[in-house]
């Protein structure tokens, strides 16, 4: 793990050291928050709303969010749409293959809890948080692009509150 997560411990006893760590932390968090590249991955109706959110009227690019097709370069994953049992291992593999500071937005009812396909369906995974850790749950079927923006702002706020120390362990265990 980068040495940086042990930095705050050393800087404690250096006079004025905490100012250095907090400002460094703020800069790193700020940069990470304002350039979340999202993975181009959408399964169902929420993918159409994600496309509209990326288009001219709602425009993700204002937040610096730019789509990347390969998980290696993406750091935010929209689980947009229903995850069936056949798709679940693939979603888990895609999440695993993303580079480390990664965040997940469970977009739409189907990703949060199975949505309209919770009852009587033999093929739908009841919520994506059963296989991957989720940062923000976004209800709606499909959620409006504005609420998708709000979810992204929530992720950005969450990123801005992260501490340097907890970089050593995988924050979500």
């Amino acid at each position: 793990m980068g040495i940086i997560s042990k930095l705050p411990v050393y800087m404690e006893n250096v006079p004025g050291g905490t100012i250095v760590t907090t400002s460094l932390e703020k800069v790193l968090n700020e940069s990470r928050a304002s350039s979340l590249w999202y993975l181009l991955f959408g399964t169902a109706c929420c993918a159409i709303e994600m496309m509209c959110a990326g288009a001219s009227r709602y425009d993700f690019d204002r937040f610096g969010m730019f789509f990347r097709a390969s998980p290696r370069q993406a750091d935010l994953m929209f689980v947009a749409g229903t995850i069936s049992h056949k798709m679940a291992p693939r979603v888990k593999l895609l999440y695993e293959q993303m580079a480390e500071p990664r965040y997940v937005i469970a977009m739409g009812g189907c990703a949060c809890s199975g949505g309209p396909f919770y009852y009587d369906s033999y093929a739908v995974l009841k919520g994506v948080d059963k296989i991957i850790p989720v940062d923000v749950f976004l209800p709606g079927c499909p959620p409006r692009p504005e609420s998708l923006m709000e979810a992204c702002i929530k992720v950005q706020q969450k990123v801005k509150k992260e501490k340097l120390q907890d970089w050593s362990s995988d924050r979500r265990g």
Partner: protein
């Protein structure tokens, strides 16, 4: 407001410093060259930061949307944020990858496109070194990019990367030939390969080589766009076909290096275009380096404009276009300029 007096002042300071340290005199020149290299590196870094932001804003306004707005006023901090974020991204080296080649591919890619800046004339007397084989040096050093793309494509042991790497190698290698042929036309007129000589041969606006070599300029621009894997020729990282082409397995800073090298190439190619065809730093009232920056930015604008209007060519159409259209045209241009500029 020329920069040459500034450089003289720096020279004198350096020499006095070296003498004070009691070191041999050639050490001052060495120090000066290193300073020039670092200055060009900083300048190149700043330019890439500007270009990435500018392309996202331009593409936004082409497509009736705003582009980055939130990070800083009109998003000018956006690329710095991207860079810093990529600093913090984990660097994944997949298991079945050829580790050494995988590691050295971005280094070769960045080093080769950066090394070509040694002979770019930024302004009056503002040139790291005026080699007497300037343009030939640039054309030869930029072919190393092909090697780095092949290294990246082959070593990441990924079928999409292999396809992307092979395609980019074939494309850049094929478009190298018309590119060099179109440059020959200019050399015939200036009788010298050195970049400064080429620029000095184009004093007034009417003596720019673009008027006497229109076909040469057209071939150069098309081949240059293909050389930097952009716009209608961006098949190596065609997102729709090959997901992310050769840099599919790269993450974190290694990916940032490829990203940096791509934009450096874009700036390099437009800088050569201004030096060869648009009269480099020559221009009325404004200081010379400002003219150079303005003209290069204009050429970059045109290349960015290509990207957001044209669909992508297929591999075989692209190769056939090069060998069956561009190459004969380049020969034709050579023969015509042979007859016209007999001296």
């Amino acid at each position: 407001m020329e920069l040459t007096p500034l450089f003289q002042w720096i020279d004198t300071q350096l020499i006095s410093l070296v003498e004070w340290l009691g070191l041999p005199i050639w050490f001052a020149e060495l120090l000066e060259m290193v300073l020039a290299a670092v200055a060009v590196l900083l300048m190149a870094f700043l330019i890439v930061l500007f270009l990435v932001w500018w392309e996202r804003k331009l593409s936004g306004h082409f497509q009736q949307r705003l582009g980055p707005m939130r990070t800083g006023w009109h998003g000018w901090l956006q690329t710095i944020a991207d860079g810093l974020k990529l600093f913090q991204k984990e660097d994944i080296i997949p298991t079945n990858v050829d580790r050494k080649v995988f590691f050295w591919a971005p280094v070769v890619c960045f080093a080769s496109s950066y090394a070509a800046f040694a002979v770019i004339p930024w302004g009056e007397g503002v040139i790291p070194t005026d080699l007497n084989i300037g343009i030939l040096y640039i054309l030869s050093i930029t072919t190393f990019v092909v090697i780095s793309l092949l290294m990246a494509g082959w070593s990441s042991n990924n079928k999409y990367a292999l396809l992307g790497g092979m395609r980019s190698a074939a494309q850049i290698v094929s478009y190298e030939v018309p590119l060099t042929l179109s440059v020959l036309g200019v050399i015939m007129m200036t009788q010298s390969l050195s970049m400064v000589a080429i620029v000095e041969a184009q004093e007034s606006v009417f003596s720019w080589f673009i008027w006497r070599q229109p076909l040469g300029f057209a071939i150069y621009l098309v081949a240059a766009v293909a050389e930097t894997n952009r716009a209608p020729f961006d098949i190596p990282e065609a997102e729709q076909e090959l997901v992310a082409g050769f840099n599919i397995e790269y993450s974190g800073m290694k990916f940032a290096m490829f990203f940096l090298a791509e934009f450096l190439n874009l700036f390099l190619v437009s800088a050569i275009a201004t030096t060869l065809f648009l009269g480099g730093w020559q221009g009325p009232f404004l200081p010379s380096w400002l003219w150079f920056i303005l003209k290069t930015t204009f050429v970059i604008f045109v290349i960015i404009w290509f990207k957001w209007t044209y669909p992508r060519l297929r591999v075989d159409q692209l190769m056939e276009f090069c060998w069956k259209v561009l190459l004969p045209l380049a020969f034709l241009n050579l023969i015509i300029s042979g007859f016209l500029f007999r001296g």
